[in-house]
């Protein structure tokens, strides 16, 4: 790997970071929105460093300095860059060529799903659900719905009209289908599934996005022993993929 190649690898990697953050919102498929400034900074550093290295090297070539190895303060290890450094091109290839989509139903079927939190945390920690007498639906994140359904012993959601948005996931083990949303703490590698089971509507196409309006089917007995949260749908509309697919 000569120095021109070294510099250009860094430029390409930096360009991939910039292209997925500055010009598109592709990065939201992979990492938290909060990563944007850091990715841009890292991309700029990589592009600048790579260009400086390439420019310095090409200037040498143009001047036809045969004593090329004397430049740069005499560092002797340029030729020892391991071959594995070429792999730095892979993230760039992945971003530019594959542009992988956000994780969806495939992951939701296989990944760990969220589980009831420890008892100590639950109960009474939730905000009010707006005016309890109003008929207006309460828009809610799936993760919030799931966490309330598991821990809100006061059952504030009971009887309220609730609006949820997520993608359709088949239920391999029985009746109905899941409306699911992946929750991400840092990057897609740590995604966790939140889902509700819907049995009173025909199953839509896998991975299509829907906003559903309906009510929570209250379980009898202990909230924490519930495995799937049932949701009774009154109305559902297909929506475009949200720009930020994770919660």
């Amino acid at each position: 790997m000569n120095r021109v190649a070294q510099g250009l690898v860094l430029v390409l990697l930096g360009t991939a970071a910039l292209a997925s953050t500055v010009f598109t919102e592709l990065y939201l498929n992979y990492v938290q929105a909060g990563f944007r400034p850091f990715l841009i900074a890292a991309g700029v550093v990589l592009v600048v460093l790579g260009l400086v290295v390439v420019a310095a090297e090409l200037r040498l070539v143009v001047r036809e300095e045969q004593a090329a190895h004397d430049h740069g303060g005499g560092h002797g290890d340029h030729a020892h860059v391991p071959r594995v450094a070429w792999l730095l091109l892979l993230p760039a290839v992945s971003v530019f060529v594959i542009a992988p989509p956000a994780l969806g139903a495939y992951t939701a079927e296989n990944a760990a799903s969220a589980a009831p939190p420890e008892k100590a945390e639950g109960g009474g920690n939730f905000d009010e659900l707006g005016d309890p007498d109003s008929a207006a639906p309460v828009e809610m994140k799936l993760r919030e719905f799931v966490s309330r359904a598991w821990t809100d012993e006061e059952r504030a959601m009971s009887g309220r009209t609730i609006e949820l948005t997520g993608f359709a996931v088949p239920n391999p083990e029985g009746k109905g289908w899941y409306l699911a949303r992946l929750q991400m703490a840092c990057c897609a590698a740590d995604a966790i599934v939140n889902r509700v089971l819907i049995t009173d509507q025909p199953e839509p196409a896998k991975d299509s996005w829907w906003t559903v309006r309906g009510t929570w089917e209250e379980p009898e007995g202990d909230l924490q022993s519930v495995r799937d949260h049932h949701f009774s749908v009154a109305e559902m509309t297909e929506v475009d993929d949200p720009p930020d697919p994770y919660e």
Partner: protein, 357 residues
């Protein structure tokens, strides 16, 4: 070359770091002359055309392939690989820049003031210093390399490497958020991680040998201007550490997609085995230390001690770290350091888990 490190006391006349740096300088003479293998001008120009061609291929690939690649498992794999790479990238660049700045702009005398000359004392100091740097694992490896380069005792630098990603403020806050209402998990993570890092440092100081550790880089020319040293150090570290980071990302993404969660959950009830399984899962998944608490809290079928092991082992030993450490310090180092760290981290998980949780 096989002198023991630390323990029995530092050399009388100079610090341990000095003797190491000298070793590296003399070793440098064995390397072939720098112009060996260096291509002449025309080939470097050709490289530019090669990359131009490569970019055209990327554009064509994007036009033709991105719609035809539809395999669900493949796309999930590609997403996770890209996610791990992009998420680690800022931390890698930050760590490499910090390491280069340590090399280029901070005089060696500074480290001698901060780190006690006695290695046995320098190790806990380095562990405490790890609580300051808010970075993930990928940042701490090049920084530790930079510390060794500047003459800090390897044992202390390695303690820093282990402690920094596990106990820095960002990670502890993330852990507190994930385990809301369970402050003992944050305390357990802090105590077990710091303890394991310091003990590994002491063991390395006592039994480690200088020649296991490949010098991170040839000692730079003292006459070169500081910005030039900074630039060269960044380029070198990025290419070395970056390639191995990608290797780790590939392995972690593959296992993330391939290993079914049911296998993991099937053993959740067994007391000791479950701890080992979560430790293994932490190694395989290679989740950034700032995010691992959120994954740990989702593994509700497991005992608190098993979750603690997940949090303690993950930032110290995982696939991308092993690749990074092997690439930075050499495989004869990684072969010894990784099992030692794993054993000590597990021991501390059991101990602290037994007492606190």
């Amino acid at each position: 070359m096989t002198e023991r490190l630390g323990g029995s006391g530092p050399p009388a006349t100079s610090s341990l770091g000095d003797s190491l740096v000298t070793d590296w300088d003399t070793r440098d003479d064995d390397l072939p002359p720098p112009d060996w293998g260096r291509p002449r001008g025309p080939r470097r120009i050709a490289t530019v055309w090669l990359f131009a061609g490569f970019m055209v291929a990327l554009a064509l690939g994007n036009a033709w392939l991105s719609d035809t690649l539809t395999g669900e498992a493949f796309l999930a794999w590609a997403t996770i690989f890209t996610a791990i790479s992009l998420q680690a990238l800022p931390f890698l660049v930050f760590g490499v820049a910090l390491s280069a700045a340590l090399t280029a702009f901070v005089p060696s005398s500074f480290y001698r003031r901060v780190f006690p000359a006695n290695t046995a004392l320098a190790v806990p100091v380095a562990g405490a210093a790890g609580a300051v740097l808010p970075g993930c694992e990928c940042a701490s490896v090049p920084v530790a390399g930079g510390l060794i380069k500047r003459g800090v005792a390897p044992a202390a630098a390695l303690t820093f490497l282990l402690a920094a990603p596990a106990i820095n403020p960002v990670v502890l806050v993330a852990t507190a958020v994930a385990f809301a209402g369970q402050p003992e998990m944050v305390a357990g993570r802090f105590v077990a991680s710091l303890g394991a890092a310091v003990v590994v440092g002491w063991l390395w100081a006592r039994f480690g040998r200088t020649d296991w550790l490949r010098p991170p880089r040839a000692h730079h020319d003292p006459s070169a201007p500081a910005w030039r040293v900074f630039q060269e150090s960044m380029l070198h570290d990025l290419l070395h550490a970056g390639g191995f980071l990608v290797v780790g990302g590939l392995a972690a993404a593959t296992l993330n997609v391939v290993v079914p969660r049911e296998w993991v959950l099937a053993v959740a009830g067994l007391p000791v085995v479950s701890v080992l399984v979560l430790a293994l899962l932490a190694i395989l998944l290679s989740i950034c230390s700032e995010a691992d608490a959120f994954v740990a809290v989702s593994l509700t079928d497991f005992s608190p001690t098993a979750k603690l092991a997940f949090l303690v082992v993950g930032p110290m030993v995982d696939l991308k770290l092993i690749a990074l450490q092997g690439g930075t310090f050499g495989w004869s180092f990684a072969r010894r350091f990784v099992p030692l760290t794993l054993a000590v981290a597990l021991l501390f998980s059991f101990l602290v888990g037994g007492v606190l949780l």
